[in-house]
């Protein structure tokens, strides 16, 4: 018997089964369960919507909940009724002369960023002017020479909560995501300045000129500081940092991107927010994780031990296990970064499920 042909077939089959790009799709039955979980979350949000169309009277939470509906596989639009149009009107009612969209003078970056992202997701050109105003407001928040920050300052290029506070990577990523989603010109100088600040939040001595940072490839909250101790890398911020780099146009083969992805491979888990204290920032991590993995475009993530993970299945299983009977999600163990707010966490989680469900 000639064994050449069977061996070749076996080798081909082995390669087919072990090559990540050829990995099997996530179990359709599990995807179906995820769709129902997302529907249940949306029902919770709809049941807890305020009379004014908002959630908790907050521009930020309202925009995120609206985005959860608009990006859902059911394709909700303004034609579906007041539960979509009223939150939009709520956002528009909080547009300020300076272009910001916020019900408070605090969180103006965050609120404006998520608001223009949600308005963009409506696909309605009627909101273009408001979106442009929001873009300009966000651009104005970026720290630079006009604020006394020269290129060698650790905060150069950063964006904070809005106002004169210090910048941080989380707010930077929210602003960058919004500016990318709303089509800020690729040659705008904001991107280069932003990349400078993002790079300075990375524990990567090869590309970070800030002395005292680590070298494991992950990201921290801001240069030389993590809320989880020292300037250590952690999951939520590493996904935010990687996303921000990709949104800013940094190529996948860039050493910063490779180092960040390497950290994610070496710290793959959905049990907790790796590198964080306890369960702090857990749902922020799930939300950022879903965006990064979807943007990366691979169905599986191979960790540093060579084990392939179907990230969609892992994320869906984890989120379904954490869902409450009323369809909501909430962080039972930590209220930091508002994760004790059901409407916020539910909106984040439905967005994460949307990313896992959508190809």
């Amino acid at each position: 018997m000639n064994w050449t042909k069977p061996c070749a077939v076996a080798v081909m089959a082995f390669l087919f089964l072990t090559t990540p790009s050829a990995a099997a799709a996530t179990d359709p039955a599990l995807i179906g369960q995820a769709k129902r979980a997302a529907d249940s979350g949306l029902r919770y949000l709809r049941a807890n919507q305020g009379e004014d169309g908002s959630w908790s009277g907050s521009v930020g939470i309202t925009a995120l909940a609206l985005r959860a509906f608009l990006e859902n596989r059911r394709g909700y639009t303004e034609e579906d009724g007041p539960f979509i149009t009223r939150p939009i009107q709520f956002l528009l009612a909080h547009v300020k002369d300076d272009g910001s969209i916020s019900e408070t003078i605090y969180n103006r970056n965050y609120n404006t960023a998520v608001a223009i992202t949600a308005l963009e997701a409506t696909g309605n050109p009627q909101y273009d002017e408001v979106i442009r105003g929001g873009q300009q407001f966000l651009q104005g928040l970026q720290l630079g020479p006009k604020d006394g920050y020269e290129a060698d300052h650790k905060y150069y290029g950063g964006i904070g909560y809005g106002g004169d506070e210090r910048p941080d990577l989380s707010n930077q990523y929210m602003a960058i995501e919004a500016l990318k989603a709303t089509g800020l010109a690729e040659d705008d100088p904001l991107w280069d300045r932003a990349v400078t600040f993002i790079s300075r939040c990375q524990n990567n001595s090869e590309t970070n000129d800030i002395q005292g940072m680590g070298n494991d490839g992950g990201f921290t909250y801001m240069p030389l500081y993590s809320p989880h101790g020292d300037a250590g890398s952690y999951g939520g911020m590493t996904h935010a940092g990687l996303l921000a780099l990709l949104y800013a146009g940094v190529e996948r083969d860039d050493p910063r991107v490779q180092a960040a992805y390497g950290w994610i491979q070496g710290n793959y888990t959905l049990e907790d927010n790796p590198g964080a204290k306890g369960k702090q920032g857990l749902f922020y991590y799930y939300n950022a994780f879903s965006k990064t993995m979807r943007a990366w475009g691979e169905p599986e993530l191979v960790d540093d031990r060579g084990v392939a993970h179907d990230w969609r299945a892992d994320l869906i299983n984890r989120l379904m296990a954490l869902q409450k009977a009323d369809g909501s999600w909430v962080n039972d163990e930590s209220g930091r970064w508002w994760e004790d707010r059901k409407d916020l966490v539910t909106a984040w989680t439905v967005i994460a499920l949307n990313n896992a469900i959508n190809p």
Binding site: I105, E165, R166, P227
Partner: protein
């Protein structure tokens, strides 16, 4: 009425609002020029107060009230020159200054040695103001609770920073040293903070005035009304 020798020096009077303003400066560095101007003005106004209080037959309480009023008006005027956004801050500073003086007046009548009384009052102020920092491990380990709101509401320095349009709990230094800024918190509205501060000032002044009321000498047990002519 207090004698001139019991009056605090102008420097010590000015130190109270100056300290508050310096703290606010740390919370909101961009308003630095305005705050510096207000601090100088507070010092100049304070120079006149001991002199007024020392004038014979001029009530000390009225002198201090004049000082507080002048301070508020002066600060408001200066705030108007710098930016109208500083206006509520100016009234908050003068209200807090007046409240501190009233509490100091109460402290002066409390039992015990004067130095110890003021030390304890100062210590209490530092403990309350710095609570977000020294409570950091507890804040991080516990679920958010209603007492978080009281921690913010009872902190005068946070109100100063917020009245300037800043977000002191998320300022660079405080965010690094306290998890409070990562929780869902609310500053008191400017109107509420002003009302609470001036109410505290009025109460503490009224209590201090009551405490220093002239005492009536007790009648002698050997006194016989029948001896009166």
């Amino acid at each position: 009425m207090d004698t001139p020798t019991s009056l605090p020096s102008p420097a010590s009077v000015a130190a109270r609002p100056a300290l508050l303003m310096a703290t606010a400066f740390l919370c909101h560095w961009q308003a630095g020029d305005g705050i510096l101007a207000l601090t100088v003005m507070a010092f100049l106004l304070a120079l006149a107060t001991p002199w007024l209080a020392a004038v014979p037959r001029f009530p000390a309480g009225l002198a201090w009230a004049l000082y507080a009023g002048a301070l508020a008006g002066g600060l408001a005027l200066a705030a108007g020159f710098v930016t109208w956004g500083l206006l509520p801050f100016a009234f908050l500073v003068s209200g807090q200054s007046l409240a501190l003086m009233g509490l100091a007046g109460l402290g002066a009548r409390a039992p015990g040695q004067a130095r110890r009384r003021y030390f304890l009052m100062g210590l209490a102020g530092v403990v309350v103001t710095a609570a977000p920092v020294w409570l950091a491990p507890l804040l991080e380990a516990t679920e958010r609770a209603p007492w978080f709101d009281w921690l913010v509401a009872g902190n005068p320095v946070l109100h100063l920073g917020a009245a300037l349009g800043g977000d002191p709990l998320r300022s660079d230094w405080l965010y690094r040293h306290s998890p409070m800024g990562s929780y869902d918190y609310r500053y008191l509205g400017t109107g509420t903070a002003l009302a609470a501060t001036w109410a505290l000032a009025a109460l503490s002044w009224a209590a201090a005035e009551y405490a220093r009321r002239p005492l009536v000498a007790p009648l002698s047990s050997t006194h016989d009304p029948g001896d009166d002519p």
